[in-house]
Symmetry: C2
C-alpha cells in the first residue's frame, strides 16, 4: 500500500511537504561524466562518437554508418503492420491539427507619437530531436517533437535515437517519415546531445535541441544550453488524479499504473474527497499490478512514490494540486471544467472519465512532452513556440524621435551611458536645426 494522507490529520502538512520535496532522481556524478563526454566530443567528433556508441550501446559503427540511409529506413519501415501504420498516421494527423493552431501572429502598429512597433516570429533553422531508446523506444515521442518543429517551419530536422545492440524500432523510423524528418542518427546519450550542439565531421550542428531523455541526456542538455536552445530539463514523470462521485475504481487504478509503469521514479497521486473511493482504487491497484508485464517497475514506483490523499473538498484538492504542479492532471469529477479553472499549475489537464491520460500520450492531439518534477509552476509543454523566436521591430519617424528621444537622453545620462545619450542627441540636434530653418 502507498502512503495515504488525510488533510485533516495533524501531521498532514509536514508529510505533504516531505512528499513534495522527495528527491526522485539522483544525478550525483552524472554532471562530471557528462562534462567529460562533451569535452571529448568537441575534441574528437565522429571518432569519439563511434567509440562511445560502441561502449554504451554495444554497437560498432563507422562515421558513415551513423546516419540511417534511405534504404535502411525503407527496409525497417516495411516491417510495420498496417494497423500500426494506421494508428501512427491517425496520431500524426491529430497532433498536426492541434499544433497548427498554435502558430502565433506577427504584429505591427503605429502609435500616436509616430513610432511603428511590432514583432515578427521566425523559425529556428535547424532542430535536433532526441528520442529515447533503451528500455522502450517511443515512436510517439518522434511525432510529439518533430511535428511542432515542422509546423513552425524549421528547415532542417534531425533525430537522434539510440539503438542499443543495434535494435531498431521500425515504428520510430516510420514516425520520422510521417513527421518529415530529414536526418536520423543512431546515437544516444550525452554524446548525441554534444553532436547536435557542436556538430561533428558528419553531423552539422543544430540551433535547438528538444525531447526527453535519461539523467545523462538531461545533464548534457543543461550543459549545452546557451550554445543552443533547449526545451526543458525532463525529470521523472507524474500524474495526479482528482476524483469524486461515481467513478470506476479500475479505470483510476489503471491510470495510476500507466504512470507508474514508465519508470520506478515516476509518481502517481490520487486525491479524493471520498475515503471509500480511495480504498477501492488502492485495492484495484494491488489487484491489477501483478498482471502487468512491467509489474516490477510499476510496483516500485507505486510503493516508493504512490500517494493517496483524502481531501475535505474539491477546493482543497485543487489547492494541493497547485502545490504539486503535476505534469499530468486528470479530473474525474462531475464538473471537470469548473475544477480545471481552479487548477492553475499543470502541464496538461484531462477532463472527465473518458479522457484517460494515455490517450494524451498518443492521439488526443496536445503534446506529451510536458513539464515534470513541479516545473509546471513556470514552464509549458512542448509546442510550436519552442521552434520559433520573436524579433521585435521599431521604426521611429523624426517626429517620434523628437517626442520620446529626450527621455532616452535623460535616462542614458542617469545610467552614465554617454554615447547612448549622444547617439540620440545628435539626431535631435539635426531635427532642431531643421525645425529652425
Amino acid at each position: 500500500m502507498p502512503v495515504t494522507l488525510n488533510t485533516q490529520d495533524a501531521d498532514f502538512e509536514s508529510r505533504f511537504v516531505r512528499m513534495l520535496s522527495a528527491k526522485r532522481e539522483d544525478s550525483a556524478d552524472v554532471n562530471e561524466a557528462v562534462a567529460g563526454i562533451i569535452a571529448d566530443m568537441r575534441a574528437g567528433g565522429d571518432e569519439v562518437l563511434c567509440r562511445l556508441t560502441a561502449r554504451f550501446d554495444r554497437l560498432e559503427l563507422t562515421p558513415d554508418g551513423l546516419r540511417f540511409s534511405p534504404d535502411e529506413i525503407a527496409a525497417h519501415v516495411a516491417r510495420v503492420t498496417d494497423d500500426e501504420r494506421a494508428a501512427l498516421s491517425l496520431a500524426a494527423e491529430r497532433i498536426r491539427a492541434y499544433h497548427s493552431r498554435q502558430m502565433p501572429e506577427d504584429a505591427s502598429w503605429t502609435d500616436p507619437d509616430g513610432a511603428t512597433l511590432g514583432w515578427r516570429w521566425t523559425p529556428v533553422s535547424a532542430a535536433g530531436l532526441y528520442v529515447p531508446g533503451g528500455q522502450a523506444a517511443y515512436p510517439s515521442s518522434v511525432l510529439m517533437n518533430a511535428i511542432p518543429a515542422r509546423v513552425a517551419g524549421v528547415e532542417r530536422l534531425v533525430i537522434c535515437v539510440p539503438t542499443p545492440d543495434g535494435v531498431v524500432n521500425p515504428l520510430v523510423l516510420l514516425a520520422a517519415e510521417l513527421a518529415g524528418v530529414d536526418e536520423i542518427y543512431r546515437i544516444g546519450g550525452a554524446q548525441a546531445i554534444a553532436a547536435l550542439a557542436y556538430g561533428t565531421q558528419t553531423i552539422a550542428p543544430v540551433d535547438k535541441i528538444t525531447g526527453p531523455g535519461n539523467a545523462y541526456v538531461a545533464a548534457a542538455k543543461r550543459q549545452v544550453f546557451g550554445r543552443v536552445g533547449i526545451d526543458m530539463i525532463a525529470g521523472p514523470s507524474e500524474v495526479l488524479i482528482i476524483a469524486e462521485g461515481a467513478q470506476n475504481p479500475d479505470w483510476l487504478a489503471l491510470d495510476l499504473l500507466a504512470q507508474a509503469e514508465h519508470d520506478a521514479d515516476a509518481q502517481s497521486i490520487l486525491i479524493t474527497t471520498d475515503p471509500a473511493l480511495a480504498e477501492a482504487v488502492a485495492a484495484a491497484v494491488e489487484r491489477l499490478l501483478p498482471g502487468l508485464a512491467r509489474a516490477e517497475v510499476a510496483g516500485a514506483s507505486w510503493r516508493d512514490y504512490g500517494t493517496v490523499i483524502i481531501a475535505r473538498d474539491l477546493d482543497e484538492a485543487a489547492a494541493l494540486s497547485n502545490r504539486v504542479a503535476p505534469e499530468h492532471l486528470e479530473l474525474c469529477v462531475d464538473d471537470p471544467e469548473a475544477l480545471a479553472a481552479k487548477c492553475v499549475h499543470a502541464g496538461a489537464i484531462f477532463m472527465g472519465a473518458h479522457t484517460p491520460e494515455a490517450v494524451g500520450d498518443y492521439v488526443s492531439g496536445p503534446n506529451h512532452v510536458l513539464p515534470t518534477a513541479r516545473s509546471a509552476r513556470f514552464s509549458s509543454g512542448l509546442s510550436v513556440l519552442d521552434f520559433l523566436k520573436r524579433t521585435t521591430l521599431a521604426r521611429l519617424s523624426p517626429g517620434a524621435l523628437a517626442a520620446i528621444g529626450p527621455a532616452a537622453v535623460r535616462l542614458a545620462q542617469s545610467e552614465g551611458l554617454q554615447a547612448h545619450g549622444a547617439s540620440v542627441e545628435a539626431r535631435l540636434a539635426q531635427l532642431n536645426v531643421r525645425r529652425g530653418e
Copy 2:
C-alpha cells in the same frame, strides 16, 4: 582601427568565422565558485547571504536589513528629480503599452470526433528579477523585467539589486515603484540567485528568475534552472549595423560606441556596401571615442571586437547578419522594411536613421533584455510569455474515445506500455457493452 573585412577578399570566410567564434567571455572557475555559493546558501540561508554581501558588496547587513523598507524607498525616491521621474514614467508607460499587446489568447474547440481540445495561459505565481548594480545600476532594466511580469499577472514580484558599498540608485527604486514591485532586496551575484531559487529564512523562493547579470549571475541561473525557470543566459552584448546610402557617419559611429561603452566584451559590427562610408564611420569612431567618459571600456571593445565589413550588396549583408544573429540590428538603408524581411535571426531590429538602438534601451517600448552571443538563432527577448505558462486541455466524449482510443491502445502495445493500453481498453469495453445493450 578595428578589423576591416571585405567579402571579396580570398580569406574573408575564414576571418569571418574566426570573428563569429571568438570567445568574448571567459567563465573558467566561475562555475565551481558559483556551485559553492549555492550550496552554502542552501545550507545557511540568511546568515550566508549577509556574509557574502559583506564580502562582495562591502556592505554589512543583518537579515532584517536585506529588504528595503517602505520608508527607505520613499526617502531614496524623494531624491529623484522631476525630469528624471518624467522620463522614467514615459518609459514605463510605453513599455507597458507594448507588452500589453503580447498577452496570448486561450483556445478551445471541439473537433469532428467529439474531442474538446485547447489550452489556457496562466501566470507564474512569483517572479524574481535580477537587476545588475556594480559598474552601472540600470533603472531601465527594472522596468524591462518588472512590467512584463505585471502585465502577465504575476502575483508576487521580487527584485534583487546589489548596492556595492551601500550605494543605492534612487531611480532603481522609483522604477520598481512605477512597475509595481512588491519586495526589493539589496543583494546581488550568485547568492541573490540562490536566495531567489531556494529561499532563505526571510526571502520566500520564487518560480521564475529573469534579468541580465555578470558571469557569476549567469552561471548561477544556469545551475538553478529546473528548480526554477529562467529567461536566458545573458552574455556580452552586441550591435550590428547595416548601412547604405546617405547616412550620417557620426550617428552610426555613436551607435557603435553606445554598444561598445557597455562592456569591454561588447561587440559592434558595421556592414556596408560603401567603402567610403565604412572609412568615414571608422574615422568618426576614432574622433569621438576619446571624448567619452567610458572611453577606456569602449576603446577596448572597439579595438578587440569592433568589425567593419564591406559587402557586395544588401542581400549579402543580410546573409552575414543572419550568421551573426545579433542581439541588436540597426538597418540604416533606404528601404529598411525590405531588408528587415531578409534578416531572420535578430533579437531586435531598429529601422531607419531616426531609430538609434539607444531609444530601444529606454523608451521605444520593446524589451531591451535580448538574446546575446548569437542566441537569437533560437531565442527571443524577454516578454510577457516568459511569465506565463500554458496548460493543455482535453476532454473526450465517449464517442471521441471510441473513435480514437483504439489507435492509442495499438500504439501503447507497440511501445510495451501495457497499463497505458489497458486504461483505454477498460473504458472502450464499457462503451461496447453499452452499445450492445
